[in-house]
Structure formats: structure tokens, C-alpha cells
């Protein structure tokens, strides 16, 4: 709860700063504030207490928020991602300097939504979180009002998202009807074998709503268009922060609801396999980098859904967290490079990356590392993430799922290397443009973190365990 309040206050502060004409201070102050909150969250996740021993009594808030290790770890990841995204936004929005406070504030509110989505103890809180997150994203997707594609993206995302939220809300209502409560611990304590059948229907509807949010096949059709049309920084937000948040809450919610439905897990597995295979296959044919990363994100959602196969629940949580961290950090690094190469020109075709290996070896190296991490090649954390998940799934005895995951990993190498080949073997056609320091800093920092968590996986997983 304290983290949630702190982030919300930061968001309001950045709006107030606009009134007092402190526009220049917004980004630095927000980043420093977020770093402080991050430290607080990580400390709390590690030791279970806060540094100064002041803590809000969560029972006073009717258990709306539960500070579990899982929630705190994911919150820390979200805060870290937001720090990167806010740092990027200063340069990205330099043509819209007067609106900078809006952009930063919306990102912070989006963060509160994401945090609420993983720390909720109550269905109402969960729904509030997902709506705050989604509405912030609708606004950000359409934040270039003069660009037709951005308008299209915002509209599409809004219509589809609102529809999914409706399904989700219907599911929550059915569950309330079956159990008479929104409180997650109470729902978990009820023996749901004796619950009426609409409990199961509600669970399935919630699952469908969330599968839409994480863009799993066959609910993925919005993702490529929205990713392509949105401003690049918004795409970065969607494919890292929003996707990981939706995935984390999907896992938490479905494992808490635990619908006693024969074939439910099998269906989830089929969706996971479809997402991996379809996402990677279609990504092979893309020439737009944002679209390609959208399909790659669909495939990664599929991998993360393998976490539902578990024998040991905390272990599965830790593996999911590790995968999410590895994927999101690689994603941020990749998007930081995409931003510095394509900037604001609204054209992210692969040929923009031609000859980057010569013109800017550092950025080319970072993008290469990010893509290698997503492809799952050691020593990057993406490899260990896949390895831990495969280990867990084999533990459960689902060899066939692992085989599918391996095959789709092999497919994915094809398109990740398409980009790498363009950077190193083609000649650059355009003159070199200076890259803002913030972009390079974020790219270096996130890829360094990606490699570091690959070297010390036990620390990252101890945040959850």
C-alpha cells in the first residue's frame, strides 16, 4: 500500500510541477523519487520489513493490498522499468515539451495500476488496477493526435480493450455471485468444489479477459497494429511493463481462483503453444521492427504461460518473475536502441538499422545482446529464464511442451538474426544522427542489468522465494 501511495503522489507532484512552471525538474525529480521507492520495495521484498520501520497496517485498508513477496518483487520490477521509460521520455517528447508533465504523470499512474494488479488482495482492487493501466495506455497509444496511425492504434486498442474489460468484469461479477465476496483469501478458503457452476464460468471469463491483455493467441489480433501505430515509447511500455504486469496478475489470479474445470490447464497449455509457434512464425515475415517485436512479445507470453505447469508454487512464481525480468530488460534495451535509430520519424522498417554496426557499434552491440537474450542464448539472462521454466515444466513431466518451446525458440532465431544481419552486413544509407545521452544510458543500464541477473539468478529469485 505504501508503495502504491508513494507512486501516486509522485504522479500528482509531476502534474503540480507543471502549474508552478518547473517543467525541467519533472523528469529528474520523478526518477529520483522512483529510485527511492524502488529501494524501499526491494528492501521490503528481501527482509519483509521496511528500512525505517514505518509500515501501514494493511488490515486498515480492508486487505485491499497484500504485500506478498511475489507482489513486492514484481512491483520492484515495474518501478525499475518505469524509471527507464521516464528517463527515455525526456528526449522522446522534446517536440512536445509543454506536455511532458502529462506524459510522465500518465506513466506514473500506469505504474500504480500495474502495482495494484500484482499486490491486490481484492477483486475490486485488481479491476481498478487493470483499468488504470489500460486507460493510461489508451491515452498514450493515441498521444500523437496528428498521426493517423496513432489514432488508429488508440481507437483499436480502446475498443478491443474495453470489450475485454467487459468480459473480465462479467467474470468478476459471476464469481461474486458464487462466493459473495471480492476478497481473494476468502475466495481461496472456500472449498470451490461445492461452489455453483458459474464460479467456473467466471474464472474462464476472467482468463479470457486477461489472455487478451497479454496478447496470447488467439486473442492477439490487436497487438501488431497497436504496437506499430503507437509512438515507439508507448510500444516499449506496452511490450514490457504492461505485458509483464498482465502476465503476473494472470498467474496470481488464476492460481488463486483455481477453477476446478477438467481441461482448463490443457487449454492454457494449448494457448501457450499456439502463442509461441504462431507468434514466432509470423514474426519471421515482418519487416517493421515494432511489429516484429510485437509478435515476438506474443511468443514470449506463450513461454511465460508455461509457468502454469508447476509442482512447487513458489518456485513457479520465482521462475515467472525471472523470465519476466529477463524479457522486460532485454525489451527495454532493444526499444532504447530502436528509439535512438528511428527517433520520432514514425518509420521503423528494418532497413533503418542497416550498417548500425559501423555507424554506432555500441548501440548495435546492445541491440545484438538484447536480441540474443530474447532468443535464449547464454550467457544472457533470457537463456537462464528459459532454462528455469523448462526445468520446472519437465519436473511436472510435460516433455511435449518443452519440445514445442524448443522448436519455437529455433524458429525465433531466424528473425532475431535478420535484424543482426542488417546491422552488420548492410551498408548504411543515411547520415549519422547524434544519439541523446539518455537513450544510450538506458540501453547500457538495462542490458547490463540483463547480463547481471543472468550471472546471479539466485539473488533475483530469492526476492520471490
Amino acid at each position: 500500500m505504501d508503495i502504491l501511495i508513494a507512486v501516486a503522489i509522485l504522479g500528482i507532484l509531476s502534474l503540480i510541477a507543471e502549474i508552478f512552471n518547473l517543467r525541467k525538474a519533472i523528469v529528474p525529480v520523478t526518477v529520483i523519487g522512483l529510485i527511492a521507492v524502488l529501494g524501499h520495495a526491494v528492501y521490503k521484498a528481501m527482509y519483509g520489513t521496511t528500512l525505517l520501520n514505518w509500515e501501514l497496517d494493511e488490515s486498515q485498508y480492508f486487505n485491499m493490498v497484500q504485500s506478498t513477496k511475489y507482489g513486492l518483487a514484481f512491483s520492484s520490477l515495474f518501478i525499475l522499468l518505469t524509471i527507464f521509460l521516464v528517463t527515455l521520455s525526456a528526449d522522446f517528447h522534446k517536440n512536445h515539451q509543454p506536455k511532458i508533465s502529462d506524459f510522465v504523470a500518465i506513466k506514473l499512474f500506469l505504474l500504480t495500476g500495474a502495482i495494484a494488479m500484482v499486490t491486490f488482495g481484492n477483486m475490486a482492487m485488481f479491476f481498478l488496477g487493470i483499468e488504470i493501466l489500460s486507460i493510461s495506455l489508451y491515452v498514450l497509444a493515441a498521444s500523437e493526435p496528428k498521426n493517423v496511425k496513432s489514432n488508429e492504434a488508440g481507437m483499436k486498442y480502446f475498443l478491443m480493450g474495453a470489450f475485454a474489460s467487459g468480459i473480465l468484469l462479467f467474470g468478476i461479477a459471476l464469481i461474486y455471485g458464487a462466493t459473495g465476496t471480492f476478497d481473494i483469501p476468502t475466495i481461496m478458503s472456500l472449498n470451490n468444489a461445492n461452489l455453483p457452476s458459474w464460479y467456473t464460468i467466471g474464472s474462464v471469463l476472467i482468463a479470457i479477459g486477461l489472455l487478451f491483455k497479454i496478447a496470447a493467441v488467439p486473442f492477439h489480433f490487436w497487438a501488431p497494429d497497436v504496437y506499430e501505430g503507437s509512438p515507439a515509447l508507448t510500444t516499449a511500455t506496452m511490450s514490457t511493463l504492461a505485458k509483464v504486469a498482465a502476465m503476473a496478475s494472470f498467474f496470481k489470479l488464476i492460481t488463486s481462483l483455481n477453477p476446478h474445470l477438467p481441461g482448463f490447464l490443457t487449454t492454457i497449455n494449448i494457448v501457450a503453444v499456439l502463442s509461441m509457434i504462431v507468434g514466432n512464425l509470423i514474426a519471421l515475415r515482418q519487416i517493421n521492427v515494432k511489429r516484429m517485436l510485437a509478435f515476438s512479445g506474443i511468443a514470449h507470453a506463450g513461454y511465460m504461460m508455461l509457468a502454469f505447469q508447476f509442482l512447487d508454487y513458489t518456485n513457479a512464481q520465482a521462475n515467472l518473475f525471472y523470465y519476466a525480468a529477463a524479457y522486460a530488460l532485454a525489451g527495454i534495451a532493444a526499444f532504447a536502441v530502436v528509439l535512438s535509430v528511428c527517433g520520432n520519424k514514425g518509420n521503423e522498417e528494418i532497413y533503418n538499422f542497416n550498417g548500425l554496426g559501423k555507424t554506432n557499434p555500441l548501440l548495435a552491440g546492445i541491440l545484438t545482446c538484447a536480441l540474443l537474450s530474447m532468443a535464449g542464448i547464454p550467457i544472457f539472462s533470457g537463456f537462464f529464464a528459459k532454462f528455469f521454466l523448462f526445468d520446472q515444466v519437465l519436473d511436472k513431466g510435460r516433455l511435449i511442451l518443452v519440445i514445442f518451446a524448443v522448436i519455437s525458440s529455433i524458429i525465433s532465431v531466424g528473425y532475431y538474426f535478420k535484424l543482426i544481419l542488417a546491422m552488420y552486413t548492410k551498408e548504411s544509407t543515411e547520415e549519422v544522427q547524434p544519439v541523446p545521452v539518455a537513450y544510450t544510458t538506458v540501453a547500457v543500464a538495462s542490458i547490463a542489468l540483463n547480463i547481471i541477473i543472468g550471472l546471479v539468478p539466485s539473488f533475483v529469485m530469492s526476492l520471490v522465494r
Binding site: P361, P378, I379, F390, I410, G414, Y424, T425, S458
Partner: protein, 481 residues
């Protein structure tokens, strides 16, 4: 000082080479690779005195992963092969002017780091990490500094990458499966896993896929000739001299002791595939008009024979294979370097455009001649020792296998000597051919010295590897009483 020190030197050397800049890069690379060689020799010296040179550290609690580097006769031999060939390969590139040479030399050292890690690791997962890691530098070396048409090169290199990556991923699945069974990735624990026949068959197949692609064994060889031809000389040397030995070593270290029942059951099928590669490689080598491609196919034939020796599951076969691995490593590096020396002067790989070199450069001709003779396993060279022992082990299994395997010597002599005739002899070539420079000469002399010394006196290496191979054989034979 333990074995991890070699790795540290190579990794640090790769970083330092990158930072000293383009001008000093090659010197730095040579110094660090020579330092790694010195460290390896010192470690071997200490190992022979019976001191502890292994290194182990619990890296991750759950799943249990050890950062462990085991020094024994087998792994140290392969490490020595790597660290001895790396300075030679660095030295052999001195004659080329590479753009961005600091990245080039740094990648060579990084590659050596990954390969040494593969040879030394005792933990399956760390082994896999190093195994995959070695792919990245060679991919970039072949892609950026390779020769020939860029589009074709790209296709060849990406095919190589996806092929090997695909194979290794199934190996990873096998490792994870074994971890579920035994709760450990350490090789000694995996050796003791009690696996059913069905499990062994699948794990054997998963390992085989990874190793057959990397070695390469027919029918997984299609990436090889193109990549060898397109890669720069140093890249080809790394691939053929050391990297494919990773696969052969891994068969001895991981595949056979973990799945001995399956190895014994399918031994003749696998040996058949290996020997098919011998014939196939030899026949194709006869047909080649490109010097590097010819050497690539001849390498396919020789490696097929080594793999056949390994899969006989006898001490002679394993030992012959290890000896032949070392010998082939040196000879193939020498041969590809000779091709590069000609390429530097004539700027072509076409055999038809060569000829008449002998008149102009007697020194180069005689050194190339010895290399060719070593490659066809003339008695007195190192290759003879290994090849003879492998053929002997095949004869023990079945005399016809030895007969088929022996064709590699006959056909090899035929195509290698014919190649030598077309490339070197004949009327004086119109193009000028300068005799070898000092650095080029140094490379040849070192390689020839090694080949001749161990050809006449192989005892140090045989004695060094035999105890370890005997230990491995105990595990291989645990199901076959």
C-alpha cells in the same frame, strides 16, 4: 593457480585486446594467447605433480548448478590443444589487414575462452553455456570478415548458426531431463544415473543430434563446406581445428558415459554413418576445384574416422581418437593456413588458377608438402599414430569397418597429392609468388615441429590421456558385463 586462471586470462585478454585499439590489437592478442598457453603448461605441470588444479564453486542453489572446472588428462589435453592453437591462429592472421581488427582479435580470444570452458566444465549446464557461447564469436567472425559474396555468406553463416543452435537445444532438454532424474548436473552424478533403455535411447539421440551437427557427421554436414569456404582463414581454423573437437570431446565426456547402453546398442548404426562420411567426404574432395572446399571435405572424411573410433567404445578407439583430434587440429590449421598463404598472393581459391608455385618458393613448397603428407597419415607424422590406432580399433570391432575406414588413407593420398600437384607443381606461374614471410614461416615451423615430434614420440600424450580414458570406459561398460 588452478584451471580457472586460464579462462580468466583469455577473457581478460579479449577485453584488453578490444580496449588497446586497432593498432596494438594483434600484439595484445598474441601476448594474451601465449600467456594462456603458458598458464596451461604450468597447470599441466602442477597436475603432473599431483597438486589440486580443479576449481569448483556452488553458483546457484536451486536448481543446483556448480561453476566447476575439472582438470584431468583428457580435458587438459583439449585445453592445451586450444591454447596452443590460439596463438598460432592469431599469428597466422598477422599477414591480413582486417578492418576493425581489435574486434576481430578480441573475438578470437573470446572464442578460445568459450572453447576452453567447454572442455573444462564438469557441470552440464555450465558446459552448455560455454558450448553455446562459442557460437557467437565464430558467427560474427565468419559474417563480418569472411570472403566471397556477402549475400551468400550470410545465408551460409545463418544456416550454420540455426543448425547448431537447434541441435544444442535438444541437448539442453536432455540435460534438464537428466537433472530431474538425478538432481544434479555434475558429470559424475549423471554417469551414475540409472536410466531405462527407452530413456537412454532418447537422451543418446538428443546428444547425438547436437554432436553430429557440430562434428559434422553425415547427414548433418551440409552447413560445413560453405561455411569453411566463406569464413576468413582464422575462422576456418577455429572451426575445423578446435570447435569440431568440442563435439568429439563431448561424445567421450558426456554422451557415452551417460547413455552407455544406447551407445552399445546403436554403435554399428552410428559407426556406419561416420564411415559413410569418410567415403562421402573423400569422394567429394576428389571433385572440388576450390582449395578451401577440398580441405573442408577432406576434414569431413578425417573427422568421420575419428568419430567412428570414438563410437567403437574401446580404449584403442578412444585413445586413437584423442590423438587424432590433436593431430588433426594442428594439420588442418596448417593446411588452411597454406591455402590462405596462396590466397594472399594469388587472391583466388580456384585450384585451376594455381600451379607453378614450387619454382618460385621452395621453402613454402617443402613445408606444404610435409603438411600434405602428415594429413594423409604418413608414418612418422603424428596423424599416423592416431589414425593407425583408430583403424586398429575398428578392425577389432569388425574387419570390414577397418577396410572401409582405411579408404580414407588411400583416397586421401590420392586427392591430396593430386591437389598438391595442381597447386604447386608445373610450369612457372605467370603471377609472382613471394616465398613465405617470417611470421608465416614461424607458423608452419611450429605446426610441423609439433606434428613430427609427437609422430616420433607420442608417449607423453598417450600416457597423459590413458588413465582418464580408462575411467570413462569403466562408466561406459557398466551395463555391458
Amino acid at each position: 593457480m588452478d584451471v580457472s586462471f586460464i579462462l580468466v586470462i583469455l577473457l581478460f585478454g579479449a577485453g584488453a585486446t578490444w580496449f588497446v585499439g586497432d593498432k596494438l590489437a594483434k600484439t595484445a592478442a598474441l601476448i594474451f594467447s601465449a600467456a594462456a598457453l603458458a598458464a596451461t603448461l604450468y597447470v599441466i605441470y602442477r597436475y603432473n605433480l599431483g597438486q589440486k588444479v580443479s576449481f569448483i564453486y556452488l553458483w546457484n542453489q536451486s536448481p543446483r548448478i556448480f561453476l566447476g572446472f575439472q582438470a584431468d588428462g583428457l580435458s587438459l589435453t583439449m585445453t592445451l590443444l586450444t591454447t596452443a592453437l590460439t596463438p598460432i591462429i592469431v599469428l597466422s592472421s598477422f599477414g591480413n589487414l582486417f578492418p576493425k581488427s581489435r574486434a576481430f582479435y578480441a573475438l578470437i580470444l573470446f572464442m578460445a575462452f568459450a572453447m576452453v570452458g567447454t572442455f573444462l566444465s564438469v557441470d552440464g549446464l555450465i558446459y552448455y553455456v560455454f558450448w553455446e557461447l562459442s557460437l557467437i564469436p565464430i558467427y560474427f567472425i565468419a559474417l563480418i570478415w569472411g570472403n566471397g559474396d556477402a549475400e551468400e555468406r550470410k545465408k551460409a553463416v545463418i544456416k550454420f548458426f540455426i543448425y547448431t543452435f537447434a541441435g544444442s537445444l535438444f541437448m539442453l532438454v536432455a540435460f534438464v531431463y537428466l537433472y530431474q532424474k538425478t538432481g544434479s548436473f555434475l558429470n559424475l552424478h549423471l554417469y551414475k544415473a540409472m536410466l531405462s533403455a527407452k530413456e537412454q535411447t532418447w537422451i543418446f539421440a538428443a546428444f547425438f543430434l547436437a554432436y553430429a551437427i557440430k562434428t559434422p557427421i553425415i547427414p548433418f554436414h551440409t552447413w560445413q563446406a560453405n561455411v569453411y569456404q566463406k569464413a576468413p582463414a582464422a575462422g576456418t581454423m577455429l572451426l575445423s581445428g578446435i570447435m569440431l573437437k568440442m563435439a568429439l570431446y563431448s561424445i567421450i565426456r558426456w554422451q557415452l558415459p551417460i547413455t552407455p547402453w544406447a551407445a552399445n546398442e546403436y554403435k554399428y548404426i552410428v559407426i556406419g554413418l561416420c564411415l559413410a562420411g569418410v567415403i562421402y567426404g573423400s569422394v567429394l574432395a576428389l571433385k572440388q576445384t576450390d582449395l578451401k572446399k577440398l580441405l573442408a571435405y577432406s576434414s569431413l572424411a578425417h573427422v568421420g574416422l575419428i568419430a567412428a573410433g570414438v563410437y567403437t567404445l574401446t580404449l584403442d578407439g578412444l585413445r586413437g581418437a584423442v590423438l587424432q583430434m590433436v593431430a588433426h587440429g594442428f594439420v588442418v590449421v596448417g593446411l588452411f593456413f597454406a591455402a590462405e598463404v596462396i590466397n594472399r598472393r594469388f587472391n583466388t581459391g580456384e585450384i585451376t588458377q594455381m600451379g607453378g608455385i614450387r619454382v618460385q618458393s621452395p621453402k613454402f613448397t617443402s613445408m606444404f608438402m610435409i603438411l600434405v603428407l602428415a594429413s594423409v597419415a604418413l608414418p612418422g607424422t603424428f596423424n599416423f599414430v592416431g589414425e593407425f590406432e583408430v583403424l586398429y580399433s575398428l578392425a577389432q570391432a569388425n574387419i570390414w569397418l577397418a577396410v572401409v575406414g582405411g579408404t580414407t588413407i588411400i583416397l586421401g593420398a590420392f586427392y591430396m597429392l593430386r591437389m598438391f600437384q595442381h597447386v604447386m607443381l608445373g610450369e612457372k606461374n605467370e603471377k609472382f609468388f613471394a616465398d613465405v614471410t617470417v611470421t608465416e614461416g614461424a607458423v608452419f615451423v611450429i605446426i610441423l615441429a609439433v606434428l613430427l615430434f609427437f609422430g616420433l614420440y607420442p608417449k607423453p600424450i598417450t600416457e597423459f590421456v590413458t588413465p582418464e580414458l580408462e575411467k570413462v570406459l569403466v562408466f561406459i561398460n557398466r551395463f555391458n558385463k
